[in-house]
């Protein structure tokens, strides 16, 4: 299957069209639109434009062309035999989104939405970013397509991901540090929403994950589904059967939903989402709303979130800027309640250990975000009822770790001579 078939929804026989969300963007009780009235017209316009684009062969062909000739798709599936040996002989297969252009899965969505912005005739694009990967991907596609680009980034994140700030600026984007609230991704999102409601006529807001008001969660999912569609075919090709488990990290949840979604109807495939456990979920210092949060409304949709009894968003803790977010996409909330996917916290320490293990067994220096998935996968194998050598484990390596080299060096006390 080609990428355009995947994106335009022409799916293999076993996979029907997604039935969720409903017309209002609801996944059961989750999702929807909790936004100022001033944004509704723009969301309706976007919804209509997206549905039109999805059905337009010229649009899907252009996206397909850009994904393959520019973004480097399909990304490879790597048979991680030395990592597998560390895990008792399990067959661990890595979906290499770190090898996509700009170094993460974020380019899949950024390309789709930027092409849509052009189609809608919006000359200006804004984005929020945590780790900076979504900001870099958005700045990149704006340069490619000749769009103005402004990226909001929490002040704290501009420090811990300073490499990505420079990348965005080199690509011609304006980076606006956000100093309100917790100075991280949540506040960057607030500021981007404020910009959007003020400048909505000529601006498209490229949300970076499967969060926000309808149609963002399902639209971003559709743009990221290509990960899972490719991976499913690649695994079948390589091992002749479906994996026992698919593992991904969950910040807002876009790389996870992208790889999970094509497996939803494969009941025998377990789905495991790894949230940021920070200092440990039991300490309260984490960013794991599906594991330890409650349902509520944040950034335009109902989902699980970290909040106190007055509904105030709680501060989050994670070594990973990309997972350091108190909310999560509504479809994950739905999958959690339906028990189709399982979610757990992975601590900073577990993630950093896995990052080093992957680096030293496979020569792959992954993003700290992705290291949460690697840690979750290794742990899943350890606690499986079946012998490790019988297991096939698919792990989404959502991004590469260049941006995290300084953080990792500090964590391990490296680089000091």
């Amino acid at each position: 299957m080609t990428v355009s078939e995947a994106v335009s929804g022409k799916l293999p026989d076993a996979m029907p069209e997604p039935v969720l969300p409903d017309a209002g963007g609801h996944f059961g009780p989750y999702g929807g639109r909790f936004v100022p009235e001033a944004l509704v017209a723009a969301l309706d316009e976007l919804d209509e434009a997206y549905r039109g684009a999805r059905a337009d062969p010229a649009f899907t062909a252009e996206l397909d062309r850009q994904l393959s000739t520019y973004a480097g798709r399909p990304t490879p599936l790597t048979d991680a035999t030395r990592l597998g040996a560390e895990a008792g002989g399990a067959r661990i297969l890595l979906k290499r989104e770190d090898l996509a252009h700009t170094g993460s899965h974020k380019i899949n969505n950024a390309l789709g939405q930027a092409l849509l912005a052009k189609r809608m005739g919006k000359p200006r694009v804004i984005a929020e970013t945590g780790a900076g990967q979504h900001g870099v991907a958005t700045a990149t596609v704006c340069a490619l397509l000749g769009l103005e680009c402004t990226v909001y980034m929490g002040e704290e994140d501009t420090v811990r991901q300073s490499l990505n700030v420079a990348r965005m600026q080199l690509l011609g984007a304006e980076v606006r540090p956000v100093s309100s609230g917790s100075k991280t991704l949540k506040d960057a999102t607030n500021e981007a929403m404020r910009d959007w409601v003020t400048n909505v006529e000529r601006t498209h807001y490229v949300i970076g994950s499967v969060v926000g008001p309808h149609p963002f969660p399902s639209m971003v999912r559709d743009f990221q589904r290509v990960i899972g569609v490719e991976a499913r075919a690649q695994v079948l090709d390589l091992v002749g059967r479906l994996p026992d488990v698919v593992v991904a990290c969950v910040g807002g949840g876009s790389n996870a939903i992208g790889i999970f979604h094509p497996f939803l109807d494969d009941a025998e495939v377990a789905l495991l989402g790894c949230e940021a456990g920070g200092d440990g979920v039991e300490t309260g210092h984490h960013a794991a709303p599906l594991t330890a949060g409650t349902p509520g409304v944040l950034h335009g949709a109902r989902s699980y979130l970290m909040q106190d009894e007055d509904g105030q968003t709680l501060p989050t803790t994670s070594i990973s800027a990309g997972l350091d977010y108190p909310g999560v996409g509504p479809e994950h909330a739905w999958l959690r309640d339906a028990e189709r996917a399982r979610y757990r916290g992975v601590t900073d320490a577990e993630a950093m250990a896995a990052l080093r293990t992957l680096a030293q067994t496979e020569g792959i220096l992954c993003a700290i975000e992705s290291a949460h998935a690697v840690a979750g996968a290794l742990d899943w194998v350890r606690s499986a009822a079946v012998p490790a050598e019988d297991l096939v484990v698919l792990v989404n390596v959502s991004g590469r770790g260049d941006k995290d080299a300084a953080t990792a060096a500090r964590w391990f006390g490296l680089g000091q001579t």
């Binding site: 639109r33 009235e37 003020t198």
Partner: protein, 270 residues
């Protein structure tokens, strides 16, 4: 003209209309600069002529608000303000003689419990609530709760609202309709957009509800300008700024009273 019975909000707008003027609606968040400080400021603005008070419920993620309101609610939250303090401020506004509403983002209402929130607001003497990030499409449980407790649910229309959305919004709105005069967040502006007048004109054929205009009004002249075509003039950030810029709480309260007086004169200007 007779003064309507009905809710405190209906009466406030009817009284203003009977006097041939627009109603003055003032917003201040609870808990800023302190819980008693905010109550003093609310009393001062009512004494100076504010007819309808919106008590803001401080929220961690005020994505409809500009820098002034953000700064005030961040400070209120840092000071430990709770939802109970919001209801106490509502009670003070009602006792001072104003029609009192809560202005709240939706999540705190859900967290408190939708029906429980409506019950507590009514118990405090509140007349209704404005919910800027709740659109009628998602408001089913809130409409039930406000109806059960005799509260007015106030919704917003924006310059970008279609005729169909204006119609469906006015169908569920009680008390008054909030017309957001500019596209954007709260904050003071030097000129009130002409889009405000056009929006009010578009809304009129759909409803007999009073229409109040907000977002960006900061002085008596702008209040007079808006009062010429709207039934209510909503002022928030400019009042908040009085408290933000004051050297001490007492002079902040005095500044709020002075600005409210100027605005009250504005809505009465012919």
């Amino acid at each position: 003209m007779t003064v309507a019975t009905g809710s405190a909000i209906d009466r406030a707008f009817a009284t203003a209309r009977a006097e041939g003027r627009a109603a003055l609606v003032g917003y201040l968040p609870a808990g800023f600069p302190s819980v008693p400080g905010a109550i003093d400021a609310v009393r001062a603005m009512v004494e100076a002529g504010v007819d309808v008070v919106e008590v803001g419920l401080p929220y961690s993620d005020p994505l409809m608000d500009g820098p002034q309101v953000q700064a005030a609610v961040e400070s209120a939250l840092a000071g430990g303000v709770r939802i109970a303090d919001v209801f106490a401020t509502v009670a003070a506004a009602a006792e001072a003689g104003a029609a009192a509403l809560v202005m709240t983002y939706w999540n705190p209402v859900e967290a408190y419990g939708v029906d429980r929130f409506a019950a507590a607001l009514a118990e405090a003497g509140g007349a209704g609530a404005i919910t800027p990030d709740l659109i009628p499409d998602e408001a089913g449980p809130w409409l039930d709760a406000t109806a059960a407790h005799g509260l007015d649910p106030v919704f917003l229309v924006a310059p970008s609202s279609t005729e169909a959305r204006i119609a469906s919004t006015v169908a569920v709105t009680r008390g008054f309709l909030y017309a957001a005069s500019t596209m954007g967040v709260t904050g003071t502006r030097t000129a009130v957009d002409t889009v405000a007048r056009q929006l009010v004109e578009r809304v009129r054929p759909h409803t007999g509800l009073p229409v109040a205009v907000g977002l960006g009004i900061s002085d008596g002249d702008q209040a007079a300008e808006v009062a010429a075509f709207a039934d209510g003039v909503i002022v928030g950030s400019a009042l908040v700024r009085c408290l933000l810029e004051a050297p001490d709480p007492r002079s902040g309260v005095a500044a709020v009273g002075r600005l409210a007086g100027e605005l009250a004169e504005g809505v009465r200007r012919r």
